[in-house]
């Protein structure tokens, strides 16, 4: 086997060792992540929490501020996404109703408060 072939085999072995170290032996630990990286079901549950508060407070501004926690998607998209997820995963009807009320509230609120949407 020529010297060059053995050299490249050594490189491949080294790459393998590097990847093994970076992905298996010392993998990245998820710490200090941001809310927009939360998995979809957790985001949906957070939206549900906001909707539960909205049901009592009836304050769309507060709801929008709370939804900003999840990132820079529009509140309407977040709530619609949570409803879609809830339908898909079989959320109780009561929860879906709460989410829909929030959606309706935001739909009627958004046109007059466009500037403050995160």
């Amino acid at each position: 086997m020529s010297r060059w072939i053995r050299f490249f085999i050594a490189i491949l072995i080294g790459i393998g060792i590097g990847l093994l170290y970076a992905w298996v032996l010392n993998p990245v630990e998820y710490v200090d992540t941001t809310p927009n990286s939360l998995r979809g079901d957790y985001q949906s549950d957070y939206v549900l929490m906001v909707a539960e508060v909205y049901q009592v407070e009836q304050d769309p501004t507060l709801a929008v501020q709370q939804l900003a926690f999840l990132g820079n998607k529009t509140p309407l998209k977040m709530v619609q996404g949570a409803i879609d997820f809830g339908n898909q995963e079989g959320y109780p009807k009561a929860d879906l109703a709460v989410l829909k009320k929030l959606l309706q509230g935001l739909q009627s609120w958004a046109p007059t408060s466009e500037g403050t949407t995160p």
Binding site: F7, A10, G14, L19, A22, T33, L38, M49, E89
Partner: protein
């Protein structure tokens, strides 16, 4: 000549390969944060998440659901963490309503028979048998999805599929500007918020004890709030009023003194009226006078105990 070179070139190749491997894994194709769980959130975001849980609990009174949601954060001592966050929010000028919600949830958990008095909320159980059928994007050390743990029986236990397109998270390694902790107006006072129906009956005034210790150097009002089993209850709001002023504080700020402990420094020769926020009788009090062995007078302290009947 060739023999003198030996096999160093192989080591060179391996080192070069390792470098390339790490370069690929850490720079060219670095890990992207997505599909994470609440436990991995930055502490500040955890605070917001926790506050949302508390606000939701205040709105619904659903302690079971709040407990399940809190378990996602893997706090060692959820009752204490909630009480401490409540105190911190008050100290840092956050919404009083939000601090109240946190304190209420802390107290409700403390008093809940399901919470085993001190504090350990069982974490959602992983289902080892289900791991093979989980979504490939699901992190290995993950808790179950809210739809599996938080929900009522009508939700399914099937592993989640990937999020809906409308809500799919965008990988990002830097916090969004809208997530900053500084914009306090995010948490505006909500005067219409109602108290949770799960609160326990009002605490009653049990006893009052005088403490004379010249080394204390100030006149303290020490409050102990316990449940019917005699265990300290954190997060209980106490309102103290005097002529022309009012202040509020919570139990649990000094866990080393017990979860039901709170104290307040009284000004001498001022008459105070004190009561637990969620009802209960009012107690009138003022700084007591003590004297040492030589007859020298100094201001003493009171300890008041409130408990559930």
């Amino acid at each position: 000549m060739r023999n003198k070179r030996g096999s160093w070139y192989l080591l060179t190749g391996v080192l070069l390969g390792i470098t390339l491997g790490l370069l690929y894994a850490w720079v060219i194709s670095p890990t992207q944060y997505r599909d994470t769980t609440p436990v991995s959130l930055h502490p500040e975001y955890k605070d917001i998440y926790r506050a949302a849980i508390a606000s939701s609990f205040s709105a619904t009174g659903d302690l079971k659901r709040a407990t399940a949601r809190l378990a996602l954060l893997h706090d060692d001592d959820p009752v204490g963490v909630l009480a401490a966050q409540s105190q911190r929010y008050l100290a840092e000028g956050y919404s009083y309503t939000e601090a109240q919600a946190l304190a209420n949830l802390s107290a409700a958990l403390e008093q809940s028979p399901e919470s085993e008095s001190t504090q350990q909320i069982p974490e959602p159980e992983d289902d080892p048998g289900a791991t093979s059928s989980l979504s490939p994007t699901r992190p290995r050390d993950e808790t179950l999805a809210p739809s599996e743990t938080v929900s009522t029986a009508r939700r399914t236990n099937t592993p989640q599929t990937s999020g809906t397109p409308a809500i799919t998270s965008t990988p990002s390694t830097s916090p969004s500007p809208t997530l900053s902790r500084t914009p306090l107006p995010t948490f505006t006072p909500l005067p219409t918020r109602t108290l949770t129906p799960t609160l326990s009956p009002p605490f009653v005034f049990a006893n009052q004890a005088l403490f004379c210790d010249p080394d204390v150097g100030e006149s303290q009002l020490r409050i102990l709030v316990t449940n019917s089993a005699g265990e300290g209850v954190p997060g209980v709001e106490i309102i103290i009023q005097w002529d022309g002023g009012e202040d509020r504080f919570f139990t649990g700020l000094k866990p080393e003194m017990g979860w039901g402990y709170a104290d307040y420094v009284m000004a001498p020769q001022v008459d105070y009226s004190l009561h637990i926020a969620n009802g209960g009788e009012s107690v009138d009090i003022s700084s007591p006078e003590c004297s040492d062995d030589e007859g020298e007078r100094y201001w003493g302290s009171w300890q008041l105990t409130f408990t559930h009947p």
